[in-house]
Symmetry: C2
DNA sequence: TATATTTACTTTAACGTTAACTTTAAGGTT
DNA sequence: AACCTTAAAGTTAACGTTAAAGTAAATATA
């Protein structure tokens, strides 16, 4: 069993409070006593029991973070940003991977509330789900990532997928690609609809009929699916064809399929991804993509939550939108 | 403030213990009373305070996990495995990213101990460091990932980098590649030396002098460094050249550099990676690599720690070694 | 019918820490 | 000398829960 303040107090023949105060450098305690306490604490390998402290202070200095899949580079980068900022402010994060499953997600929120996290950051799997009712009962600050159900009047942080998609498709259209494909996934998420709307925005700008956009739904976000869907769906009919893929990782599968179909890139077919993951710049044909500041997004998200934690009265609800930008490379 | 058992007890005019027992389904409580308690709890949005429970039970059902960089796919996959298994056993993980910094790492261990995690999983940044002394004082079970300092007699789980490197280089040599380059990083880590030894093992097998291995040290694990080092260092002198890269992500940078230098792959130059990340199979030339079961490693690691947590007497120290295998693809 | 057992609770104390208040003794003022 | 101040402690109670032991009434046993 770990050493407690009681043990130290007994050894030094002082009260527990003296030990407690000495260890936090309280001015009540004389330098001499403080030194004796500190030395004894070290000697006995004392580490404060934060569980007990949390109970008294009603703050755990712990933040709950729920993401749909931590092995997606996208979330991994966000989590890195979140963790970094909180760590620098003496908070830790309890991480739960919801496996894109609304049931796990709901349990996760419940568990984190039971563990009395001081705040919650939450990347939902669905636009609407039972989690909304649960969140309504919650008394700690929380932020949603990339999804803002109308039913919840809460803080959120999102990438501007709609704008990103507009940039992507505009770029394709203005580069002379006429037939435009959008390979997308996650039908049930807001971001999915936003993306499609962004494509439409670009079509509107170019006075093209929206029906001309070729939407290809990929039921899973994995390379095999995107690869196969590309093989099946993407045609080249003597018009330059532009393909916009859900994200950079999926674009790797798309690219391979395009090459296998014998299309020359970027002459016949142009490809745009989304994210700007680390490898995109170093692919044999470096990938044109929409840069998405994932790490910064994580940081900003954490900073906002910290603000909430430190402020006494509840702050105004804020919807943060991360700006994106086009990175033109060799695939267009 | 959240509802407590006390509040429920007051409302129902019963003792706190009745509430406590009713909520955990203790047989002492009549069905009728239990129902009343449960209903009232729901009505008042009661959630148990796990902080208080942890204090009494001296277990937090929380595991500390420290990794050098959560945005490395390698660690992200391991963490996913760890989190999944623990979640299924009602544990949560406190995740800390040490940013490859021994100071942060040391703080992280201290913090996790203070938060009274029930166990610790730890991917060290260095072979030896001050963390060793700290771990020696620790009374909870812990497992090290990919590093097993002799000074610590503890559980560990590692990928068999040496064997993997041997497989990689043997494959290159037996495929007719004569000049072998190994682009590596993390000099200060055990895994780094193991890898080099694995290359030597292959050279020994083929009766080649170890000096013939061309070691290229990359001071940072990033694509730019690997790309530049490849441009600078890798030559082709009318002998088929084999390049073995530290991991698949870095191999993308290497590949691009090789192509830019005008080498034809796999005819003049062969390339082998390490990890088998998701994109490797779908690169334009699919990447020959050493498959590394990261997710399984995370799961196994968690299962082992669970074993320790559940067993009364301390178990024998175990060094788990994850087997690797060669995946032959188009770059060799 | 007296005694043992069971059911359904209640009481007490503890987990380790800290906030808020109180005490004691020394030193300083007038 | 009587009073006030200050330094350096100590005491008490609380945070929310649970383990363990206690109790009273109802039921079963002989």
């Amino acid at each position: 069993m770990p050493t407690t303040q009681k043990d130290i107090a007994a050894k030094l023949n002082v009260s527990i409070m003296t030990v407690s105060k000495a260890l936090k450098g309280h001015p009540d305690i004389s330098a001499k006593t403080r030194k004796r306490v500190e030395d004894t604490a070290r000697e006995m390998n004392y580490t404060v029991n934060v569980v007990a402290r949390s109970l008294v202070q009603k703050r755990t200095h712990t933040i709950g973070v729920i993401v749909p899949d931590i092995s997606e580079l996208y979330y991994a980068e966000i989590v890195r940003g979140i963790e970094m900022v909180f760590r620098q402010h003496q908070y830790n994060i309890l991480l739960i991977d919801s496996e894109n499953d609304p049931d796990i997600e709901l349990d996760a929120i419940q568990t984190l509330l039971e563990k009395r996290v001081d705040g919650l950051i939450f990347g939902p799997t669905e636009k609407t789900s039972r989690y909304i009712d649960l969140l309504k009962t919650v008394s700690i600050p929380y932020i949603l990532i990339n999804n803002t159900p109308k039913a919840l009047h809460c803080d959120s942080i999102s990438i501007d997928r709609r704008h990103g998609s507009m940039l992507s498709v505009s770029h394709l259209l203005s580069s002379g690609y006429e037939d435009i494909y959008f390979l997308y996934t996650f039908k049930h998420l807001e971001q999915s609809q936003h993306s499609i709307n962004g494509c439409y925005d670009a079509f509107d700008q170019f006075n093209l009929p929206r029906e001309a956009l070729k939407l290809v739904y990929c039921e899973n976000r994995d390379l095999e699916t995107f690869y196969n869907k590309t093989l099946e769906s993407v045609q080249y009919n003597n018009k330059k064809t532009g393909v916009y893929a859900w994200d950079d990782e999926m674009a790797v599968g798309v690219y391979r399929a395009l090459v296998e179909k014998g299309f020359s890139i970027p002459d016949q077919v142009g490809l745009v991804g989304f994210d700007d993951i680390r490898i995109s710049k170093y692919l044999p044909k470096s990938l044109t993509t929409i840069f998405c500041p994932k790490f910064e997004m994580g940081k900003k998200c954490a900073e906002r939550l910290l603000q909430q934690l430190l402020s006494e009265q509840p702050l105004e609800t804020e919807k943060i939108m991360m700006a994106l930008k086009l990175i033109k490379r060799e695939t267009t």
